[in-house]
Symmetry: C2
Subunit: 348 residues, 2 copies
Amino acid sequence: MAIPGAASEIPGHPPRVTAAMVADRAGVSVATVSLVASGKTGGRVSAGTVARVRGAIADLNYVVNRVASSLATGSSNFVILVAPDISNPFFARVITGVRESLGSSYQLLLSVTDSGQMPREENVRELLAFRPAGLLIDAPSPQLMRYLGADVPIVLLDAPGTQNFAPAVNLDVVHGAEALAVHLAERGHRHVGYLDSVTAAPTFELRRTAFLAKAESRGMTRPGSPRARSTIDVGSAAEEFRKVWPAWDRAGVTAVVCATDTHAYGVLQAAQSLGVRVPEDLAVAGFDDLPYSAMSQPSLTSVELPARKLGRAAAALLTALIQGRDSTSASPLLPSRLTIRESTGDST
Amino acid sequence: MAIPGAASEIPGHPPRVTAAMVADRAGVSVATVSLVASGKTGGRVSAGTVARVRGAIADLNYVVNRVASSLATGSSNFVILVAPDISNPFFARVITGVRESLGSSYQLLLSVTDSGQMPREENVRELLAFRPAGLLIDAPSPQLMRYLGADVPIVLLDAPGTQNFAPAVNLDVVHGAEALAVHLAERGHRHVGYLDSVTAAPTFELRRTAFLAKAESRGMTRPGSPRARSTIDVGSAAEEFRKVWPAWDRAGVTAVVCATDTHAYGVLQAAQSLGVRVPEDLAVAGFDDLPYSAMSQPSLTSVELPARKLGRAAAALLTALIQGRDSTSASPLLPSRLTIRESTGDST
DNA sequence: CTGAAAGCGCTTACAG
DNA sequence: CTGAAAGCGCTTACAG
């Protein structure tokens, strides 16, 4: 036998209000309390009783225990979004989109990793044990994929090449990356550097390979070394650029492409402190097209990636899966677009 | 009677593995499965049985249903951190600290609001209904406080003036703000502008009032209008500064203090684009002392606030409360410190 | 060393 | 219109 009351006691805190207490006070059964509390009294409960129960609920400040209702119904009302690099502004926009689409149907909870870290399988396992209504995973690593045959609806965001494992909403980074390569080639650049993210997400891999492949086909080369990568953080990116620039400079590099705009801000900053003029001495571009890219000095050429739309589409797909609709849905691919600004010589 | 099996079925997904299935396969009772799964077999289960159960768990890929165990034990293993302004890098550091202190004892889940928004009472109510082991609330608004007599341990972070409502870990922003005012007075500044955050958190109020009070006592004045405020975002801060600068300039303002370093980066950027030299024409300073502040051009004078320590201390206090220790604990106050750099004329 | 049973706080067919 | 009861999947004293 369980210790009576143990389940609802927290040391130093009063016992929690349960439906039974409400029922007592209102002089009805817990079944009726449940009906009233969840708003399922479709003419099945008399107006007087409803009022009495509502009063008792208000008096006692009763809130339905989601843990118990979740166990009883086998469903929950929250969605967990798993993501690395929480402080990337791009991600904040994705969240906004997710919340827009989720509306008030589901609560959104986030599970984040430390900067530069990827969520691991063990992590997702534990998250799944909370029995969320669904899981959204942003920029997952390929290793995570094999665990995704699980029993909870899952949608991947910005996870190119993983559609086979779970439904995904992806960004068409390839076309944007290629347009950027063409643009730089047309500006006469011959040698390009690439500042990558340390995060081992396929989306970053794809940005780099798509850009470099097209760059090569247009006759541009990339210095064999050093490779440059940093976390998604202006300071780290600036530091990394300062470190590799001397070698790149010697190799004749006149353009640097960055995995994200945040990286590019670091490059702009470092270039300024090194006396490297942008765009005269060096062209700089990034991916994301964050709002700030239109205002930076110089303004930043960037491959626009629709963060908010990404969040909205992923949440919409997840909702459909949760509700049993659309389980064989295609994985949408959201278009990217190159926005040319001063940092690659827009004004010249 | 509930529909058999309904609770564990998600449309289009296989039924979940339960302890009963594991028990069947291992030829034991669910009680024994529970003991093995939760590692509570202290010599109470024979080695052979343990091995058999472990095998079945592995074969079926069984994970304990947290919802059910939570209901049974009346306790959970996750903590929710409620916070506004997720994309502020300061916040990412707080999270790092929280996670360091929580270790593997509790999972951390985040509940965030949209930029510039504060979490509302209704929101916290719903979060509490998930029965987390505890709640951490970063920079709460005063209005939220009245709901905090609740039945779950709660710790506030960076919530000056609210210690009466719940245990809190605060930053001693006052001394840092005063040191900054003294520093600017000593540099000869007579008129200062203040770029505030739009977020209605007491910590921002306190930064401003403490700074301005000390500034006034040192003979400095602030232009009566316009007031300047923006979200915690470089672009918005830059835009806001551009808007107010002409009036401030006319009022003789030679120093601008910002609610956060992120705001200050925006001012640095806007100043540059306006041809206002920092620090020659204008001194700029912020709060937080983010890593980037040491590298920006010019480097930024800032009141250092120990974000990671804040997270660690808050999580440690919450853990103590959850475990019934220390419920009358004092609310720690973490020291702030002024770091003077180029943006206020360090080199002159 | 192991299992049967009660209980956590809900929800929901069912009987009345 | 309302309540008694079973069931969700665990955990934990208790009996053997």
